[in-house]
Each structure stands twice: as structure tokens, then as C-alpha cells.
Amino acid sequence: MIKSMRAFLLLLCAVTLPTIAAIDVHEFDSVEQEQQFKELSATLRCPKCQNNSIGDSNAILAQDLRQKVYEMLKAGKSEQEIIDYMIARYGNFVTYNPPVTPVTSVLWLGPLAVIVIGFGFIFIRSRKRKAVRSISETWDEDKEAKLKALLEEENNQGENKQ
């Protein structure tokens, strides 16, 4: 029983080994470097995929870019240098933290504009409503007379019924 179990486990290892080999293994000089690698893998975007970081994607291109990031870190490049290197080749699409340019400014100004327009709308409407109310609150003799006429009519009708 134990023997067959062992054989089964060995077989399992043989089956799973190739999958382990497919995960790329990187060795780093320091914990800090490893941290930088993780950060870059998460902030660089895979150009082939629409919304995956190079760390998330298993596209061949993403693997290549991870490898390149690793090599550059090993060569002592700073994070910014690596990001600039990627932008020089793939454009701002490659980073999840795009710089402010005329094209991307809508990302920053858009939400602000929505807030300003929204509050502006509320403000203007509240002022208008106040104006309407103040007009209707003016009471003059004309209205007083109309009201009296109406009340009298009502009273008369009530008496007639009784």
C-alpha cells in the first residue's frame, strides 16, 4: 500500500515538474532589488494585452519585458531609468502611471470638471428656486380679493346644501 502510494507521489512529481520549470526564477542581490522588481512588474503594462501588468501576463512579450527589467535591475539601473527605457520603446501605454501631457490631462481635469459642473448646476438651481418662491410670496390686494371671493363661494355652497 505504502509502496504504491510512493509510486503515485513520484508520478505526481514527474507530472508537475515541467510546470514548475515554466515559472521563471529570478535571483536578486538584495531584498530591495526584489521589491523593485515586484513594483516594476506591477506598474509596467503589457503592450500586447489590453489590461494586464507584465507581472500578471504570461504573454511571450510580457515574459521578455520581465526578463529585460530583471537584467536592467541586475545591471544597477534605477526604477525610473527602466520605466524611461520602456516608454522610449512602447510609449506611455506601457506604464500604469502616465505623465501629464495634453492628451492625458483629461484624466486629471475630467473628474475635477465633473465636480465643478455638478456643484455649479446645484447652486444655480437652488438660486432659481429661491427667486421663484420669493415672487409667489408677494401678497397684494388683488389676491386678497380673489381669496375672499373663493371663500365666500364655498360658504354659500355649504349653506345651500344644509
Binding site: P47, I87, R89
Partner: protein, 183 residues
Amino acid sequence: MNRNILFAPLAFFLILVVVFGTQLARNADGDDPTKLESVLIGKTVPEFRLEDLAEPGKLYDQSIFVGEPLLLNVWATWCPTCYAEHQYLNELSQRGVKIIGLNYKDDRNKAVQWLTELGNPYLISLFDGDGMLGLDLGVYGAPETYLIDANGVIRYRHVGDVNPTNWEETLQPMYQQFLQEAK
């Protein structure tokens, strides 16, 4: 209260319908939103030293792109669209269009065999086994075709297959223009 304001959401909805409708129509016409603009437009071909595909040891560098307008076609045997466009590239090369091939992250033997079997439209075939020139060019999916003018400056990048429609509509006019400029 102004009753017209009640129609604002409807108006907003209709505007959105028009915006999305226009973009969908454009997509149907071939405007692929996943296409990336190349940042290398207006820059010279990056420096490289690569071997000839069929003759290991024979080296080329970026100077091969200077002199006359060229097409640089990035291809690989693992890429089905490359297969689809190959016959048209053969036809273009027969018509005198000068094309340089960049075999990208491929098996060398398979690539040589492919050219022997399907015909070779390339003046020069570069072998970029580890994809490093591809990386410098910002290649994100084969096939890609770059239009390079006589000064070795990248002027346009086309992603996807070259076919009679896009050749006649976009690529050929530019290629002709670069030929004129070179005179």
C-alpha cells in the same frame, strides 16, 4: 419648474448613442482600438548587430536602412497572420518594392525552410532570435511592417497583415512619397 430639464437624461443618452455608434462604425472599418501608436516615428532605426538568417556569422547593422526607402517586415513562423500575408509580400517584391525581413523570436531552421517553401520576398533577412531588436523597435505582435525612408528614419508602423486594401490605401502612397523624396 422648467419641464425641459426632464429631457436632459434622454438627451445625454442620445449623445452617448451617437458617440458609441460612431466608434463602432469606425471599428468595423478597421480602426482597431488595441493598435498602439509607435513612439519611434520620426526616429532612425535603432542600432543593432544581427546575423543573416540563412548565414550565421554574416553580420548586418543599422546602415542597411540608409540609401533608399524600405519596408521592414517583422515576421515569425509561429505567427499565422504572417503566413496569410506572405504571398502578398512576394507579389510586392516582384513589383519592385524593397523589403527587409526581421525574423523575430523564431526557430532558425524552420524560418529558413519557410522561405524556401513559400518564396523569399526579402532583400535581406535578419535573424532576431532573442527579440532584442524587436524590443528596441517596440514590436508587440507580429506581423508588423515599418516604412523607413531613404535616411533610415522610421515614418510609419503598420500592425497586422499587409493586404491589397491597406497597401493601396495607406502604405503605397507613403512609400511612393518617400521614393519621391529620395530623388
